[in-house]
Amino acid sequence: MSEDIVLKAEDLTKHYGGVHALEGADFEMKKGEHVAIMGDNGAGKSTFVRQITGVEQRTRGKVWLYGEEVNFAGPLDAREAGIETVFQTLALADDLDVPDNLFLGREKTFANWLGPFRILDYKGMRKATLAGLEKTAVKIPNIRNTIQNMSGGQRQCVAIARTATFQSRLTIMDEPTAALGVQETEQVEHIIKTLKENGEPLILVSHNMRQVFDLVDRIVVFRRGRICANLAKADTDPQDVVAYITGAKTGEEYRESAL
């Protein structure tokens, strides 16, 4: 398999008891590509993301990352392999500051022989935090502020900056602007464009049609647990995508499975 394929999934399936949340999803993305995942509520978008990132264990199917088959036992495995995820629920600790959150679960430390009592390298983490924020063009007035004192946009930026601090090989964002105001959304979109310029691959789960058409190269539509369309941005338009989302239309190659 080519090294140019960042992520490939074959027959990815997840059943929760009798509920078929995700059924036979085949997915592929190339280096530097930004792909949007769209679909109605419960269509399987988040389930798909959770299988890729090791948050849940898939029922069936295979996943390759940069040509290498992967089986993540947990989110930390996925992260170590280079998949950074900005979850819908943000996954930030409110009482901690920016560097603490960026490095949560993978702190820079001294005296590692001390086990759980190894000593935190605050200075090193602050430096890396500032570098990561710079790279993503995220502006936060004071990184020593705790998350609870920040606006929704700033929180989202911290969550995104986390992905940039660790040389991620694939970034996944699950509805990064769903809860944000206009100006904050603009800020997050600016960061995504920065990632695009740096050639960093991204999967964007979003409901926002304008945003998707602004930011990504390709759109994959999910419906009732199945992929029903795979559209290059140039070949489609918002009405077309809506038709796929609502079920008025189904992609040629997916017709059989979507019945």
């Binding site: 993978r106 190894r118 935190l120 924020l133 710079e134 502006k139 936060i140 007035p141 502020n145 800020q187």
Partner: protein, 357 residues
Amino acid sequence: MEETSHGTGGLTFDKSKRSWPNEMNILLALIIIIVIFEILGQALPYMKDQSFLFDSRDRFDSIFNEARLKIIILQVAIIGIIALGVTQVIITAGIDLSSGPLVAATAMIAMSLAQTELVNGYPNPKAVFGVWAMDLPVIIPVVAGLIFGAMIGAINGTFIAYFRIPPFIATLGMFMICRGIALWWSGGNPVSFPTESFKSIGAGMMPVFWFLSLAVIFHFILKYTVYGKHTYAIGSNEEAARMSGINVKRHKVLVYMIASMLAAFAGVILSAKASTAQAGMGEFYELFAIAMAVIGGISLTGGRGSIIGTVLGAMVFGVIRSGFTFVKLDGSYQLMAMGGIIIAAVVLDQYRQRNKA
């Protein structure tokens, strides 16, 4: 907002922008309480212008009333050691109710291994074990106590983390189990007559030494180690901690083990100080320890609190106790005042949090 939108503003790490630490408020409260007692000492007619903390005798070799200072801290030192542990538990959004009875159970166990063979030339009348357990080196009862504490903590933590029993229930059960163990250990009889070396670890100001040393150690651990960071992270957002790859379950077991080991150590020191162990020891200690942490600004919903705060909370506790004795008011008033202060501390803290958000 202008500062945060792209293109303007800047990346800063500005020490001067640090917020007013919560601990300063507790220190302020402590000072205010001391001033109140100082004024009462001057104003109350029957007090004859005594000073609460300053040396009011006609001597110039000391500024403070050292005897009172010593008593203030000595009488909170042992519960303070428990409070250091319960602070960590509460930071993870848990609670530990088992520490008081654990003090008693550990005191019984440790004292049984710390007895002398001969008391005034006669065999020890309170002997629990045979001659093999007499006159052992001091390290043995101490380590036995700590191991017992670690076991109890591991059980608490396992039920809470792996079986998802609410901490309140799990440690309430352990509260009764430990009191039962303390009563069963020697059939309700006190265990007494320890070796001189065992007495020495709880003699005089030793409890204060242990309390303050452990406070310094755990202050460092909570602030500067991965253990501390993860403890705060779990209490702040357990889901986020899990998603960040922290082994939340294992960490919780560790926190409960450390808390119980601190309570067990308090039991060892208490029995050494009292030269005896009784099944009824440590009554209400678990609640007083929680109260110290609460006065010290901890949040029962987790994520917030500090060792410095808890030490200051313990000092408030000690000052009020000593102050009521100073103005010759009965212990019943003490309890009422303490209760009021605990509630006031939480009300003030919530008010502060709301205003910040």
